[in-house]
Amino acid sequence: MSDAATRVPIQLTVNGRPRALEVAVHHTLLEVLRDDLALTGTKECCLVGECGACTVRLDGRIVDSCLVLAVEADGGEITTVEGLAPEGRLTRLQAAFLEKGGVQCGFCIPGQVMAADDLLRRNPHPTVPQVQEGLAGNLCRCACYVQIAEAVLAAAREEEA
């Protein structure tokens, strides 16, 4: 498994920055982001695509990065939570998560934010049920679900204003 022969070169654009990497063929995009690129904002929990903690944007759609092999992402453009607010200023959505109390322990939040960001791109003015359905793949054991939905709606309203 550690054999260099099982590593293949890939090209990714991560948060706008081109990256040339040699990755193990069996490694997931999640492993490459966290372990090879030290982008630890993307979180690891269930590894079976159920919890949503590892959600990232890949070529314009969100994926569970634990279910995507890094080699499958070759040539892809990836945005992680670190890339949402590159200048260190929070996006409206991120700020709304804090204003509305959508964050407790915070471990699921990078995935929640990525999923909510995608939801608002596809549906700029969602209803509460649409938010709840859209984020159903992101588990929060602190159960901030009500506040997260409020945050998404608040961000949508500000977007409109």
Partner: protein, 763 residues
């Protein structure tokens, strides 16, 4: 940043890092030269280990260490917060599905996993005990080696301990009862499912050791490691980054001791990050079977409660026996009960060691006793709300005779919860309503220290050994210090999670931190204020007694100055700082059944309106109200988040969560696919959370502990609503669609075409 502090809801301290991915949890931390560890387990519930062959694993390039019981000190070091019964790694026998028999450390995660696959374990499967009945069978195998507790009369049984509590004359009280309701209720095994799996790193550090852990109690872990390694406390440094959810599951040491021994053997740092499946095999809530006999007089007043609660704990005690004792102790609820007998037992089994989990043993008995109370009310023809109000203790009443009296106006919370779901108004067709009350004894002992430094520019550093695992302790302490010392929140830093730097704190549990650490922070601020008074007296030639420091202002007889205008000239050209230390202590009371009376009670009332799909058994919560008595909300938004979060977490064990075992005792639903927790699609259609604030708690500004309360009585409130809607009483959790559907079919079979018995009840 706003100057409004206590009672306002400023944004979470540390929030920016959490929404931008910069917050570092243990698994995000890497130490140079670290080895990656992987646990080796056998796929059975219980096994005799005949031999372990690690040669193939050791032959893999990059595998540096394989540790089995034989590679550790003899006799095997054991640890545990109550009993030192848990070995670093299984010795001779595995006692639950997932107990490790070996661990591999390698240069990379991949190599560690490959090595773990190649460790050959020769084992013989043994019959496992996974139920209360099996554990109590006189012929049952003993889960624990009796040699571990030589002078214990229970050593020859699977009962770890009994916890009897009684008051009044049960027989005399029974004679006054017009109705006795007796039922057995069960509460399932559920797991914490923190989204952050537990993670541990240990590294040799000169002649000591440093440990990173997702632990809730860093100082307790420091003590455990120091004892096991025979090191002075000062040579054990524990870093405890904010946990990604704790809920009790991260209170006590799990694999930190093993990783520490490995790091010393390897002479290199060792990291172990559990998979979610491995966390299912590391922590769970205690399951329970509870028999309740409730006696009620004709006037609706309680005559007695007679409760036997058998809690199925795991193969090692962890803190579970304390969970049993403390959780069962307030089993009778916040009511005037003339006579009571409570007998709780902690029973060992070949299952994952159970530990603390939000509510700490109370939700189990609450489910049973509150459900029985509802049944008693219905059978007497009394409204369940009315029955509760008639019996509810009022302020100052000693409802548990030897404990802290009722410390709130609890009736307010009960009436408000009922009002929020329209209790007493006509029910929409097909819907039912339920109500229940939860109570929990707060911390019985405690010790928290804090240091507060007022720096030369007026900014503040607070040291507090609490773990901020999402409850928002960091924000609350910053609010307290900011208010007392006049600093805006963005000029207050709260330092936590490093035992080499932060003063001692006993633990982060029992909803204590706002009260106990909060008081320590407040005391430290008061000491700084005293120094400011002395400084102002010196600067202005005034008697100290004529000076008051309050909310960031120094009040002299003739004027008020901002603190900085005293501090700057007072410190002078060299600058410097003012340092205050605070201590909050709640000493043990040796004669008390719990070793100490309650620092406060957490009190909650939950009321639910539910609709049941008669065809599928699916339960929809149409209206949900949770009202907690919190004394004073230092941060109302965080209080709401805790209460709603606790409520939704409680819906997990109420409606969907449970471990499923096969006939041999293996867990069949490990992981997120087969074990479901509430998602955003599982919420009540309406959720109302409110608080009662009478500033009557022992914490800063009259606060009480909170955050567990709203979970305590979820199950009984929901089941009460299901019963009201369908006429069916279900006494086993969770109320899955299948279980509800089966109960409905059984109802129809027994009483074809008849209306549910309680359908006519006014409500």
């Amino acid at each position: 940043m706003s100057a409004v502090r206590v009672g306002a809801s400023p944004q979470r301290v540390g929030g920016d890092a959490r929404v931008s991915g910069r917050q570092q949890y243990v698994a995000d931390i890497h130490v140079p030269d670290e080895l990656h560890a992987k646990l080796v387990t056998v796929p059975v519930a219980r096994a005799r280990i005949r031999g372990i062959d690690a040669s193939a694993a050791l032959a893999v390039p990059g595998v540096r260490l394989v540790v089995t019981a034989d590679d550790l000190p003899q006799p095997m070091p054991r640890f545990g917060p109550q009993f030192r019964d848990r070995p670093l790694i299984a010795v001779g026998e595995t006692k639950y599905h997932g107990e490790p028999v070996a661990v591999v450390a390698a240069d990379t995660k991949d190599v560690a996993e490959e090595g773990a696959r190649l460790v050959r374990v020769d084992y013989e499967e043994l019959p496992a005990i996974v139920t209360v009945a099996a554990a109590l069978d006189p012929a049952a195998a003993l889960v624990q080696d009796p040699a571990l507790r030589p002078s214990d009369p229970f050593a020859g049984t699977n009962v770890l301990r009994e916890h009897p509590v009684a008051w009044g004359d049960l027989e005399a009280a029974a004679a006054t009862a017009a109705l006795v309701v007796e039922n057995v209720y069960t509460f399932p095994m559920v797991t914490h499912f923190a989204i952050e799996p537990h993670a541990f790193i240990a590294a040799p550090d000169g002649d000591g050791i440093v440990v990173w852990s997702s632990i809730q109690h860093p100082n307790w872990l420091q003590k455990t490691i120091a004892q096991l390694l025979d090191l002075p406390l000062a040579r054990v440094r524990v870093f405890a980054p904010d946990p990604g959810g704790g809920f009790g599951g991260k209170q006590h040491a799990k694999y930190e001791p093993l990783v520490a021994f490995m790091a010393l053997q390897a002479g290199r740092p060792v990291r172990l990050v559990l998979s979610l499946e491995e966390t299912f095999q590391a922590v769970r809530r205690t399951a329970a079977e509870i028999r309740v006999r409730t006696g009620i007089r004709a006037d609706g007043m309680l005559a007695f409660e007679d409760i036997e609660a058998d809690y199925l704990i795991g193969a090692y005690a962890d803190i579970a026996d304390r969970v049993v004792g403390k959780g069962s102790y307030p089993a009778c609820g916040p009511y005037r009960v003339p006579a009571a007998r409570i007998l709780a037992r902690s029973i060992l089994s070949h299952t994952v060691p159970s530990t603390a989990f939000r509510g700490f043993g109370n939700p189990q008995v609450n489910w049973a006793v509150e459900s029985n109370l509802t049944e008693a009310a219905l059978r007497l023809g009394i409204d369940p709300l009315d029955l509760r109000l008639r019996n509810l203790a009022r302020r100052g009443e000693a409802f548990i005779p030897f404990d802290t009296p009722c410390d709130g106006d609890w009736e307010q919370a009960v009436r408000r919860a009922a009002e929020l779901i329209g209790w007493g108004t006509p029910r929409p067709p097909g819907r039912g309503r339920g109500i229940a009350i939860g109570i929990k004894s707060g911390p019985t002992t405690g010790l928290s220290y804090s240091t507060v430094r007022l720096l030369a520019d007026g900014s503040v550093i607070v040291y507090a050994g609490t773990s901020d695992m999402g409850q928002g302790a960091r924000t609350v302490f910053a609010q307290i210090a900011g208010q007392e010392l006049g600093a805006p929140l963005d000029a207050v830093t709260v330092v936590m999670g490093d035992t080499a730097v932060v003063p001692y704190d006993q633990q982060t549990s029992a909803s204590r931190s706002t009260v106990l650490m909060g008081n320590a922070v407040l005391a430290a601020c008061r000491e700084v204020q005293a120094k400011l008074r002395a400084m102002a007296a010196r600067l202005h030639g005034i008697d100290e007694a004529d000076i008051v420091v309050d909310r960031g202002l120094v009040r002299l007889p003739d004027r008020e100055l901002p603190i900085i205008e005293v501090l700057r000239p007072g410190l002078g050209r060299l600058g410097g700082e003012l340092i205050g230390n605070g201590e909050m202590r709640k000493d043990a009371e040796p004669d008390h059944p719990l070793g100490g009376s309650a620092a406060f009670f957490e009190f909650n009332c939950t009321a639910v309106e539910a609709e049941v799909d008669e065809e599928t058994g699916d339960v929809t919560l149409a209206r949900y109200a949770t009202v907690s008595d919190v004394g004073k909300a230092i941060n109302p938004l965080q209080v709401r988040m805790q209460d709603e979060g606790a409520a939704i977490q409680g819906l997990g064990h109420t409606l969907m969560e449970h471990y499923i075992f096969d006939e041999t005792g293996r867990i069949r639903n490990l992981g997120a696919i087969d074990y479901r927790i509430p998602t955003s699609m599982d919420l009540p259609l309406e959720i109302h959370s409110e608080i009662v604030e009478n500033e009557d708690g022992p914490g800063p500004y009259g606060s009480k502990g909170m955050s567990e309360g709203a979970l305590l009585c979820v199950a009984a409130a929901v089941a009460g609503a299901v019963r009201d809607a369908t006429g069916v009483a279900i006494r086993d959790l969770p109320l899955t669609p299948e279980r509800v559907w089966r109960a409905l079919r059984e109802r129809d079979r027994v009483r074809p075409g008849s209306l549910p018995a309680e359908e006519e009840m006014p409500r």
